[in-house]
Symmetry: C2
Subunit: 342 residues, 2 copies
């Protein structure tokens, strides 16, 4: 089974974005919009998925996507903690409906109702509750954790700060991993998908390298998307840094808990990822439908058709099986039991 | 001639750091410390260089370094625009003394007296004057331009904002390039050398991709250090982004003006850089003595002995000559005339 561990519902029916716009506008006017005001029919969801992600899954030969709300659209800086909570519930409930309509093809990962600044601590408590709801009631298998809820200004403490520990406790208890994924950038100096995303990945990796988080949570599992940002390309820099600081080697310090996805949109980059990072730490993913949507004239395939690129790269059968699905079944612990019991 | 386009005086005599510390402390107390209070002898400079960068140049077989003040230590967020101006003059004057003592081995690139926030515009005017002084009076051939003078919070406009145009006008007039290089990070969420540095490189590249800067300054030349941050590893993402947005291909949009250095501390990363980026856009550099100082147990050589790594990579003689020095002579226009006239 080929599992894409990183898919977003970027093609959601327009009513979702309209509700969110209304919610943000209303907050500015001191009122709330009820989640009940959102109306989307099953047919609208089916159309969005069947003409989008499902179509591409079939064309590309992948079986199952770990599916989450559009990451950029999480936009945690808007409003207050209640804004984020309402929005997360709305976005996650929609993902649950997708998974309910296409149970063999999509399994949910939730966004968390994070907020920056003074609301951070409350938003962590809300995140714990929403995570529990999504996993226990909606059958989700993971979550997205935003290292920069200020959306482009890096104004939150590192993810290794104890303020986040309640989330990790709940993740371990529920046996679900998080994908570390920033949301939008509201900073003109930091473009979203090609700068902020990769900067967030890289920053988070260094936070993990220089902390005791995995001593405190030896079972915690974190996925760094977009091929790990800049990390594999600069693997020597990180190795040297750890050694200079008298820290354990990266294998020991982080690779028991940290995994990289394969959202790298050219063959040479993927080759480097697979050469540098042990196969057991790499999870197939295409960020589909996501950051880059066009066809690469050099290959005649979509830039984000990562399966096509990986199929052309030499790997042992064992490594390929691990990258394409085996690792995902291990990292997303609930995925395994879910599939087995079906 | 092998030219290392990215070296920092990180081994400066301790009196420099003491002066700077005093300057910052005094600013907090509402007073200024005069640059004249710094006392460093030629012998101290000789000792610092002969036991540091010069020794490594000789051991590794490189000929000339484009030499600038310690980048992290630029720390533009401290004090006000006068603080930055005094500090830049002090730091740049010291570089000029190194170049005067070892004229065959070091040529200067200056730090600019940038400042964040309300001081930005004034600091740009000061930067223009300091750049002119360093190039015309001290014989420097380039400068460092910090895309984040807030030092870790990305609170300045993009480098493509017109507020920076006076610097570009002066650079073109003087025929000198800038290396886009952040300073320290004062943000716990963003470690310096392995997160903020690479995030800054990546953010700057995207600023350039999405602007008309090179239409306005077709002669402008910018070097993105640390192998271009995350950029070459994600070259497919950038190609796809440009195409999705209806922008020209990267070759046309930026590669006439943007260059990447080779500060990537493992062979696989350097191979990717050289496979993906045209050789004419790659400049040899080692960031020496810099971010990573130890010996790689896998090679028995220093992590930052990039020449050793590059020597082991297959390249045409023509490409090697370009990467090792030819490109630097082209990008640092004044380097060529300087060497020719000697």
């Amino acid at each position: 089974m080929i599992i894409d561990c990183h898919g977003h519902f970027t093609t959601a029916p327009k009513a979702l974005a309209a509700w969110r716009e209304q919610q943000i506008k209303a907050f500015g006017e001191g009122v709330r919009v009820s989640p009940d005001e959102l109306e989307i029919t099953d047919d609208e969801i089916r159309a969005a998925i069947e003409n989008g992600q499902l179509k591409l899954q079939t064309e590309r030969g992948t079986d199952l996507s770990v599916f989450s709300p559009g990451a950029g659209k999480m936009a945690h800086h808007y409003g207050d903690e209640r804004t984020s909570l309402d929005w997360s519930r709305v976005a996650n409930d929609l993902i649950a409906r997708v998974c309910g309509l296409f149970p063999d093809r999509f399994v949910g990962a939730c966004q968390l109702p994070q907020s920056p600044g003074d609301a951070l601590e409350t938003s962590v408590r809300n995140s714990v509750e929403e995570l529990e709801r999504c996993v226990e009631e909606l059958g989700f298998v993971g979550c997205l954790l935003n290292p920069d809820p200020s959306d482009g200004y890096y104004q939150a403490p590192p993810l290794t700060d104890k303020v986040y520990y309640p989330i990790y406790e709940k993740m371990v208890e529920l046996d679900v991993p998080a994908m570390i994924h920033v949301a939008m950038s509201r900073n003109d100096a930091l473009q979203g998908t090609c700068a902020h995303y990769l900067a967030g990945d890289t920053a988070a990796f260094m936070q993990l390298c220089t902390s005791d988080l995995f001593k405190d949570f030896p079972e915690l599992r974190l996925v760094i998307p977009h091929g790990g940002g800049a990390v594999p390309y600069h693997w020597g820099r990180y190795r040297g840094f750890m050694q200079d600081k008298g820290l354990p080697p990266l294998e020991e310090a982080v690779l028991g808990n940290v995994f990289f996805d394969t959202c790298v949109y050219h063959r040479r980059g993927l080759e480097l990822l697979l050469d540098v990072i042990p196969a057991e730490n790499v999870l197939f993913a295409s960020e589909m439908i996501g950051a880059v949507r066009g066809v690469d004239p050099e290959t005649g395939r979509h830039f984000d058709d990562v399966k096509f690129l990986l199929d052309g790269i030499d790997m042992t059968d064992e490594d390929r099986a691990a990258v394409y699905g085996g690792n995902a079944l291990r990292v997303f612990g609930r995925l395994k039991s879910r599939r087995v019991t079906e």
